[in-house]
């Protein structure tokens, strides 16, 4: 219940927020994972590249991801689950934490961008422990965002060696509730490994125990390029299909949805919108 014990105000709390924060959410702390060392990230630089940081959370990009995140959480009834202490029961029943798979039809539609931002936004605003897994083992790209070495051990190593402790490979991002599990050094085709029990074991390790995470965001591979994404979708509670504006066509998106199979787990978002999202008021969002 460490999540609820943190009460220090976050640095950017002085900035006005455009929308109400759920009253039960505690303010983030600077030193959430500082004692463990972990990744040092230049947030200014990250923000300049268009990612959500404490400084850019009120910016256009931050607000847009906030909207997506809130709709997502509301859809999953995530907060109710937390508030009613279902977390404990879930753990008792051996239920794994919530997994969100972020994927797209083609490469370059903004999977990594969206998954990283979603994870950042969750970690910064909602004060929940978020694990970002780079599940695109063939072409990992999360390391590029957070600027760490590509050959860091990660998911692939854990899948290959079931005895390996996942927590040793998880990199907490300094000053946030966010941790990252790199892709690892892929040497063989990852598809069979992803479909094996090894993957379940990895998810078990991050879901249970002392360092358990509340939510896992997986940055998946593109759907139309490999079969891995559809395999990963089996572990996910929600599959967020990122559609690049003017990128993949409607028939392509349709075949991606077909590949994913179960429709009630699929949710959509659009990326690279040329004109941006209309203001929330136009959706009547604030009033609801």
């Amino acid at each position: 219940m460490r999540l609820f014990s943190r009460s220090k105000k976050k640095k950017t709390s002085g900035r006005s927020s455009a929308y109400a924060r759920p009253r039960w959410v505690h303010m983030a702390t600077d030193d959430s994972s500082a004692n463990k060392g972990g990744l040092r990230v230049d947030f200014d630089e990250l923000g300049a590249r268009g990612f959500v940081t404490r400084d850019t959370i009120e910016d256009n990009i931050g607000r847009e991801f906030s909207l997506i995140k809130r709709r997502l959480l509301r859809r999953m009834d995530f907060f109710n689950a937390l508030r009613e202490g279902k977390e404990d029961r879930k753990k008792a029943k051996n239920e794994r934490c919530t997994v969100i798979l972020v994927t797209s039809s083609k490469p370059g539609e903004g999977k990594t961008f969206s998954s990283c931002n979603l994870a950042l936004s969750l970690a910064f605003e909602e004060q929940i422990k978020v694990l970002l897994i780079d599940a695109d083992l063939a072409k990992p790209s999360v390391h590029g965002v957070f600027d760490f070495a590509e050959d860091r051990a990660g998911l692939f190593d854990c899948l290959k060696d079931p005895e390996r402790r996942v927590h040793n490979d998880i990199q907490p991002v300094q000053g946030t509730n966010l941790s990252i599990l790199p892709a690892g050094r892929a040497t063989t085709s990852p598809a069979p490994l992803l479909g094996s029990d090894a993957m379940l074991k990895v998810l078990d390790q991050v879901s249970f125990g002392d360092n358990a995470f509340d939510l896992v965001v997986m940055d998946g591979p593109p759907l139309l390029a490999t079969t891995e994404a559809s395999v990963l979708a089996n572990y996910a509670d929600e599959t967020l299909l990122v559609v690049g504006a003017g990128d993949s066509s409607v028939p392509q998106i349709k075949s991606s949805i077909d590949l994913l199979g179960v429709q009630d787990k699929i949710i959509l978002m659009i990326n690279h919108m040329p004109l941006g999202e209309p203001l929330p008021t136009e959706y009547g969002y604030i009033g609801s």
Partner: protein
């Protein structure tokens, strides 16, 4: 409103997304278009105005005549003759245009092209403008002046030919009418000659007819009377014996006859004149009887025998006299009746003859009238021709002689460049929109939701634009690009529309190429 926004939003988004592509296309299209327009050669138009009095030339001449050509026809003829192939060929020959072309097809094309570049306008009544467009002002001027010459000559020859044609026509008509007139005259004369009696004494004929009628009637009644008398005498003669004995005779038969004849003569003289044939016949008989009496008295007394009955003889002679009278009357009656018949025929035919003559006379009058008119027309045509000779300079007057054009008349470079600018922008935008429509992609979250209504759409993320200010800086860049395009446009527009001196891009290019080649040439050795 929101609906419209939703419909338009994808297109606006597409435009924004493809803004740089659209801008590049617009730039390329505009630059190519502008250079193309700049390379369009200037066109100069030389014009001349002339007054062609088509009215006075032919009006008096052709007045009231069936062959009078109207004004419009005249203009049409002028146009046709103006653009006629021989004319243009002559023009090309005189100006030396197309002299170097041998190919007949190309030559024909050139002639047609010429016809298109030349124009003839009717500015007002009798005021014409001819013009020619060419990229060489001297050529345009030359063509118009030569054309004017040709045209004036043409028109001159044309009108004179018209006058001649009309004159010949009138002369021909006059000859024809003359012949007709003569014929008609002859016909009338002959008719009059033929039917002179009917025509001359119609009244006298009627009177004569009456007279002969009366005479015939009288003769007929006389003849009847004579016939009756003859029949009477014949009856009496039958009852009288032919002979009697001599003793019985108191007087000799000759004396008796003489006495009787004298009595008859006395009676007849009461009725007729001395010249009447009866009287003459009686006197002859009396003379004969006297001689007989003389002979009797001289000779011996005739013996007493059967002597002819004097009464019978007397009756017999009476019968003879009547018969002679009947013969005479019959003859005279037939003569009178013939005469009467002829007269009645004449009287009956007289009205028809008169009508015929009237008709002939009328025909003749008509012919004569026409003939006289023609004679008059010939006179007036002669007059007009004489008038025309004196007025020749007024009929064809150059109102405004051709001037060597200084300012080009076209093409409208500035306008074309503006069109190119609009088209360039339009092509850029259209390309981007078209690409979006063909790609079947989505650009807004609303669009995504409408495409996949069964799936929840969490929202959308705007594109991350490089730079600190993102969209604003992109907008600035775009605006700058548009502004630069406009500056280039204004520059082109200034040089090719406003500035009096138009830079020759071809020349500049040649100079540039030459300088480059020159440098190379210098560098080579």
């Amino acid at each position: 409103m929101l609906e419209l926004k939703n419909i338009l939003a994808p297109f606006v988004a597409a435009l924004w997304q493809g803004r740089w592509l659209a801008m590049t296309i617009a730039w390329l299209a505009c630059l190519v278009g502008w250079i193309g327009v700049a390379l369009l050669p200037n066109v100069y138009t030389a014009t001349a105005r002339m007054y062609v009095d088509t009215d006075t030339l032919l009006r008096p001449l052709m007045k009231d005549l069936a062959v009078s050509p109207d004004f419009d026809l005249q203009v049409a003829i002028m146009r046709d003759t103006f653009f006629a192939v021989p004319n243009i060929e002559e023009l090309m020959l005189r100006t030396g245009i197309g002299a170097e072309i041998d190919d007949p097809v190309e030559h024909a094309n050139l002639i047609e092209d010429f016809g298109n570049k030349l124009y003839l306008d009717l500015l007002g009544r009798n005021l014409f403008e001819i013009g020619y467009r060419h990229h060489d002002p001297d050529k345009a001027f030359q063509v118009v002046s030569v054309m004017l010459d040709i045209f004036v000559q043409q028109q001159l020859g044309h009108s004179q030919r018209d006058v001649e044609i009309a004159g010949a026509f009138i002369d021909e008509q006059i000859v024809a009418y003359d012949a007709k007139l003569r014929e008609a005259e002859l016909r009338v004369a002959e008719y009059q000659k033929e039917h002179g009696e009917e025509l001359g004494g119609a009244e006298r004929n009627v009177r004569d007819l009456d007279q002969t009628d009366a005479e015939t009637r009288r003769l007929r009644s006389e003849l009847e009377a004579a016939n009756w008398r003859r029949d009477q005498i014949r009856t009496k003669l039958d009852s009288v014996p032919k002979t009697v004995s001599s003793g019985e005779a108191g007087a000799s038969p000759a004396q008796e006859q003489l006495r009787e004849l004298n009595g008859e003569l006395t009676r007849k003289l009461l009725l007729y004149t001395e010249q009447h044939p009866d009287i003459l016949a009686l006197r002859q008989l009396i003379a004969q009887a006297n001689e007989q009496v003389k002979a009797e008295s001289e000779g011996e007394r005739i013996a007493d025998f059967l002597v002819p009955n004097p009464a019978f003889d007397q009756l017999n002679s009476q019968l003879q006299t009547v018969e002679i009278q009947i013969d005479d009357l019959t003859r005279r009656l037939s003569v009178a009746e013939n005469e009467r018949q002829a007269l009645s025929d004449k009287v009956r035919l007289a009205p028809q003859v008169e009508a015929d003559l009237k008709r002939l006379n009328r025909d003749y009058d008509v012919l004569l009238n026409q003939y006289e008119k023609l004679i008059q027309k010939r006179e007036s045509a002669q007059l007009a021709r004489e008038l025309d000779e004196g007025k020749k300079r007024i009929e064809f007057r150059t109102v405004e002689p051709p001037v060597r054009p200084v300012e080009p008349s076209g093409p409208p470079h500035g306008l074309f460049m503006l069109v190119v600018l609009m088209l360039g922008g339009g092509v850029g935008g259209a390309f981007v929109i078209g690409r979006f429509l063909l790609s079947d992609t989505v650009l807004t979250s609303a669009q995504l939701q409408s495409q996949f209504p069964s799936l929840p759409v969490m929202g959308g993320v705007s594109e991350v634009l490089p730079g600190k200010h993102g969209r604003a800086s992109s907008l600035v860049g775009l605006t700058g690009s548009v502004a630069a395009l406009l500056v280039v446009f204004v520059t082109f527009f200034y040089f090719y529309q406003i500035s009096p001196q138009k830079p020759d891009l071809a020349e500049i290019a040649i100079n540039l190429a030459e300088s480059v080649v020159g440098k190379h040439a210098k560098a080579d050795p």
